[in-house]
Amino acid sequence: MIQFERFTLPNGLKVIVHRDTSTPMACVNVLYNVGARDEDPEKTGFAHLFEHLMFGGSVNIADFDNVLQQAGGENNAFTNNDITNYYLTLPATNIEVAFWLESDRMLSLAFSDKSLEVQRSVVIEEYKQSYLNQPYGDVWLELPKLAYKVHPYQWPTIGKELDHIKHAVMGDVKAFFQKFYCPNNAILVVSGNVTLDQVKALCDKWFAPIPAGNPPLRKLPVEPKQTQARKLELERDVPVDAIYKAYHMGARMDQSFYAMELLADILTDGNASRMYIELVKNKKLFSEINAFTFETFDPGLFIISGKLSEGVTLQAADEAIQEELKKVVLAQVKKDEMEKAKNKTESSLIFSEMSILNKAMNLAIFEVLGSADDVNKETDRFMKVTEVDLLVEASRVINENNCSTLYYRSKSKANGN
């Protein structure tokens, strides 16, 4: 249970405060309600590039990191398809420095040409490091493109292609800031050794003077129902064949999400999971197999990915996965399987509340999804899923006509055949 209080500033900034006196630290988390899904299809990767630029100096402060480090702090940020999130921790006695820093870059950036030039290169290196220069790296460029035809989840956060990043110009940067980086498009969460009164006073001082903006209403195209199986084969310089299957499922706050998360757990989490026992241990078709969801805010994907054992064909691997999935659709999962999956989930949630950073991030994410109150309803939402619910949901999702399958072939193997 995370206790918290909240208020909204006249400029629209939502503020949430969670007090935890067991720590000498404080955490400040600022979430901007903009992600890769909000990008222009011709200028993808922009939300993420912009996140880098948020560290390149703000209107009154030349170097964000330098100042924060002087205050004993540490920070980072991430961008995903849905949001951009900035977080820092520092000794609670220096909390005002965090307010100074975060409010200044919400007010305006320095928009330095040098910063744009350098961060373009840095992001290009990041693109290479994560997607191009490692085995199976481009799966996450290709699979979403196959699964989504209309919705912007079809491109990854890093961008569709390197050229979109190379061609980013200062005009784009300024327009992006104007459009999305305003108090009424943000959520501020402060957690740790702070009081509500203290946070209120600091907010009045540092954030209240920032004028409200006009963030656009989000009108994203809805992905039409997939009606036919989609297939893609790639051949790459990798040592072993791999298979990826992506099924359309519900959105983060739908009942579907909770059912599919539990199903993923039942299928591949740990030594007692179904696919691990059947496909890795017994049939020895895979060296590893994983089921997971993308946890996206809009309707997402349920993914099965696996690396094939020596001598197994992609087709045999695909059939074996489908056979296991068929079992889930034909009969309810066993009571004890469900109980284990739920207990593990409950326990993970309790462990995750050990850190003020996790707590702050979760509060911000649930607030942008609808209400921070939901953070304390997660356990119940998982507990409420019945075996019948899971069967109904799995039957809806698990269907080859709702699936995009990627065969990722090893080039050396193909040549050897």
């Binding site: 067991s22 630290m25 480090q69 220096n94 992001v123 540092w206 072993v240 207990n343």
Partner: protein, 434 residues
Amino acid sequence: METETKLDRVTMPALGKPSKIDIIHATETNLANGIPVYSVNGGTQDVVKIELIFPAGSRQQDMPLIADTTNVLLEEGTTKHNSEEIASLLDYYGAFLETSAHHDYATVSLYSLGKHFSKVLPVLEELVKQPSFPQDEIDVYLTNKKQRFIVEEKKGRVVAARNFPALLFGNNHPYGHTTKIEEFDTVKRENLAAFHKGHYSSNACTIILAGKIKDQVFSSIGDNFGGNDWKTADAQVNGKPAELEPSAERKHYMPKEKALQSAIRLGRVLFLKNHPDAIPFQILNVILGGYFGSRLMSNIREDKGYTYGISSGVVFLKEAGYFQIASEVGSDVCDKALVEIYKEMDRLCTETIPEAELQLVKNYLRGNVLRSMDGPFALAERFKQVWLHGLDYSYYEKYISTVADITAAQLKDIACKYLQKDSICELVVGSKKA
């Protein structure tokens, strides 16, 4: 409300009085059989972590991969339950198992909700005392591990990480050995069982506990681990002594066709954690490449954009310490990046660190100490990191006072002593022409 015109947004708000750093010490008790139990009680959540530490690392093994494989296989079957049953028992109570083998030691940890601790502890007891090492489990594990090994070998940074220690220590040194693919075929069941018998015993075990520790937790641990039923006559605590055989060549290059990025490692062997220069060198390392604002990051990422990230670090093992810089840089700018890296090391030897930068690092490190001691799990880790090296909490007091007192002149001396170019070993894995 103050208006924008009155608010000074240019001057940094005054820093608060540095909070006093209270290092909460682990308390020591002993089980009836003598096993020391160090515990850190605290936190807001009703959770417990128990970690059993054994001298069962790669330094203690006679053949490659034995320490690692023994450690992993503990959860793959006991005389009473198979792998699936063990996982089911733990899953049912939402408990998590974590095994890990290092150079000098191996650990088996269990994370549990406080209310279920006494129910899952017998499972931990079983897999620590009576693993059965089933042959089919060994086969599946090794086959799949071997495949993962091959996949990982495709990553330049992995190749660099795997080969660099051999250049520093020599391939025959336990800290320097590079695993070869054919070694996976040499692992035999009897070696695992023998290694377990010799190293996972009550007379070589230490326990670290963290979380909300109630009296009942101690009695459960006593029941499950306090007996004399898992003692070995000759617990093999120490590994064989080994000679350092560093590479005679300073520069090494491993080609990797068509790599878009080259993985870089530079470094050298240092001293032990108890050496008088150990703390000053760690501070110097932070300035060079140990935090986001470090000189390497500022120059090679934030000024030149050659990389997504570059960092340096100091590793202290029981019998040796070493320093290394790691990065992946665009293949087309690899040579330029190397020039800049050496330049940054050289600058530390020839120029005095400006006072403002030193003060910043001191403040940052003080905040870091607070962060690293936040919560019972972190505090338990701090205890372990001194205990492993035969040190005590005075190490942290020394660390905090050195951070406060060290001067730019002292750091320059340290840099001159340890960062001379001809003492630095270099490995590049990648493509020279992009």
